[in-house]
Amino acid sequence: MPTIIIDDREIEVAPGTKVIEAAEQLGIMIPRFCYHPALGSVGACRVCAVKFLQGPFKGVQMSCMVDAQDDMVVSTTDKEAVAFRKYVIECLMLHHPHDCPVCDAGGHCLLQDMTVSGGHGIRRYLGKKRTYPDQYLGPLIQHEMNRCIHCYRCSRFYQDFGGYHDLGAMQSANQTYFGRFEEGILESPFSGNLIDICPTGVYTDKPSRYFGRRWDYERSPSLCINCSLGCQTVVSCRYRKVVRQEARLSESVNGHFICDRGRYGFFYNSLAQRPRSCIVDDQTTSVDQALAAVKQKLETFADKDRAQAVACAGSTRNSLETLAMVKHVCQTNRWQPPAYFEDAAATYKLKSAISRLEPDLTVSLREIESADFIAVLGADPLNEAPMLALALRQAQRKGATVAVFDPRPIFLPFEFKHLPANLDMIQTDLGALLNAALEPAALKKLDGSAREFYASLATVKQISAARQAEIVALAELLKASQRPIIVCGTEMVRRQTPALAADYALLMQAAGKSVGLFYVMPGANGFAAGLLADEDVSVETLIAGIEKGSIKMLILVESNPLWQFPDRHRLEQALQQLEVLVVMDYINSEVAQKADIFLPTTTLYETGGVYVNQEGRAQGVKPAYQGGIPIAQTGHGDHPPRVYGTEIPGAEPQAAWQLLAHLIGTGQPLTAEDLRAEIWQWLAKIDSGFKALPCVADIQPQGARFFQAPHAAERFLRERPIGGADNDGQLEVMAVEMTFGTEELSADSACLKALAGSPVIFMYSSDAKQLNLTDGDRVSVELNGGAVEARLQVTANMAAGMLIIPRHKDLDWQKMNTDKTFVHKDQIRKLKD
């Protein structure tokens, strides 16, 4: 471990640590522009110059380009180094427009900071300033090239780190220009990070443009709840509104970055149409009256037998507090067990995934970056958990092989192997891969069931001839791999797939590999919901109960089955059959509009909460602001408002879990803090794993890992791995998630609308050929509940025998079965344009 002396202080650092990083460990912040911990050193800006006094290097050198080594003595305050840094800053300011007063980066601008700290204050340059034209880059990012200091961070992030190639450096010398070939929406779904990494104001946040200075904002750590990864963020609030979200460094989850769905997924919070008042039978009332109305309805079902006529559903966007409270209320009041998922299979898959996340298999998102072989099974990273795609890319850049076994038309921003096959065959392929890659001799130490499992794997010969060569080639790479990871989806896949993924991982572990297992789950709190859910209970079973007449009252807690339930007609009928529908939510969902009694709830930004991500990492968020209607809305655009009072307008909403607490017992409700404490005690009784999770106030930035209390999760399934099913000339329909437009909360963000594109249906090229269809045709697909119409996208990059329908908001796709859905080829018709 090299030891280096910087400014008379000694520090021992890990080999390969740059001097700039070593200094940072000492608390010395050497100026930098081009250096960024995630992007590395390139030595372009030259502002990190320090003087090397002793050791292998001498004189003024860039601290970002030199590894700290023994015997090095470095001065950051040496006159020569200081003079050079000052000169560099002077150079960078020659053409700067000095438009700080109107720049949205003002106040959080590295260039401002360095200009001041570097001591450059007086302009000596007498020449003219260079000016650049700006480009339209889409709805998210404002371009202002005159502020550019040419640190190349943007193109390095965008292309090298992110894998997209529509933004980069053009021209040269002092005309170097960063932008696109032509104006237009940036292709990368990670483009918002440009705002965070740009050390000045070239890329600024467009939706929040001119809204405030960083110091004007209430800024607080937050969390993205737009998918299951749980990326850490910082939100900025002002005038009772969340206005901006940025990435927050998380060493275990998202690193320095977040995706655009996450960055811009918060607008639901401050929409004008956000419901703020209770409604009982179409009349606006107070919370107390609404709660009284609910209680009154519940009276009818008070006695023991009738209690079963009440059901309650939460969802994966509930905080852990709410999820727990939903269950607690149901249990205490002896209602039906709560539903958190659309169908029972989802519960099953999540439960099996959770039970298989053993401590030495579970890997974090960051750990994926150091894998050398990654098999993705039944997951579409970019569309289901965008930051996963970015993590996979980092692994691939370091040389990892990424193989995706999934029927969908998968795109990832790097070179990878896609082995499209239907949902049954993907297991066969992966089984054959393992079979070919693992030496039976090395597996000797396996116990009986494991050996049996190994013996049951498909052989390479059993898979299609066309695929064999690919599998054999991959097997060679897997054989050589030290640190393989299995990534497995839990949403689209068959019931046993998540458990099989764990078995595959265990097999590799037995072969001496240091294996990782990573699941992708539905929703921000799918993990916790899966844990708390009762097996075989789902929205679908509730519907069946309503249909049978056994359920008469339904309470939906931040849950909107109409968004995603595959058979809309059936759901709507069931809702009509109910005697009472109570909805608690913070969005004005379709189902909220049908409620007999509606109670508004608070959002994550107002109440905080705990969310458990897909690896079982519980992360807590404190409230970001006090809530209420944005001033812009109360003032009708006028500011400041002319009506004064002590109450915050529009602050009636309460946390769902607090509202629910009113429905238990008769005693005086507890304070929020006490109630939370009670919830935690109660959770610990459900699973001792919860004991490890601190309450929201105490959760550390890295979160706390939840591991299910050890119990006999069945390892190595007895059932044979699933083979291929012949679908008899039918196409299996899969309704799938997209990066933008299918996730409920972010779908309310106006700025993301343009990114969602228009609805399409994907079909495999030879299937299309058989049906005489070509790319771009408008088609109608006759599903069980009626026809779905969209443009066809024909691709060879997906499995045959499938029809992939993205759940686009503008597509009326909910006409499917609740189980598998098939269509006959003659149910697909070409429409006239």
Partner: protein
Amino acid sequence: MLPDKLKKTLEKQIAHTDHPRELVVDAMLALQDHYGYLSDAAVEEAASLLGMSALEVEELATFYTFIYREPVGKYVIHVCDSLICWMDGYESVKNYLCEKLNIEVGGTSTDGLFTLLPVCCIGYCDQAPAMLINRKVYGDLTPEKIDQILEKFRSEA
């Protein structure tokens, strides 16, 4: 649109190499020869031939002196303005050309034949002042010599 023959030639060349990107300058020069300059469409064609994005091609196209991203005349005159030519009469050569072609530096003559651009040392300092026309050199320039050269190109055009 790229003529089939040129497209085939380029495709063949590209198929022949392990790294298509190696050929990006060749492809740009070929397309430029065909179109007269590297038009937006040509950038996109080069990109699709080479499996690159248009931006990636643009990153290079705008870097190189001899790739023209704007329309130029049939003959591009690059007059050397580096030290030796500068000392030996670059200024008068440039002025003479401007006057003869009735254009300014960077402009194209109204007949669309000539574009005049400065260029850094072209490696013919022993024949200063010198210039290139369509990448062919003309050295030891005098007004008479320039007249002859322009005449020759005019008559060929």
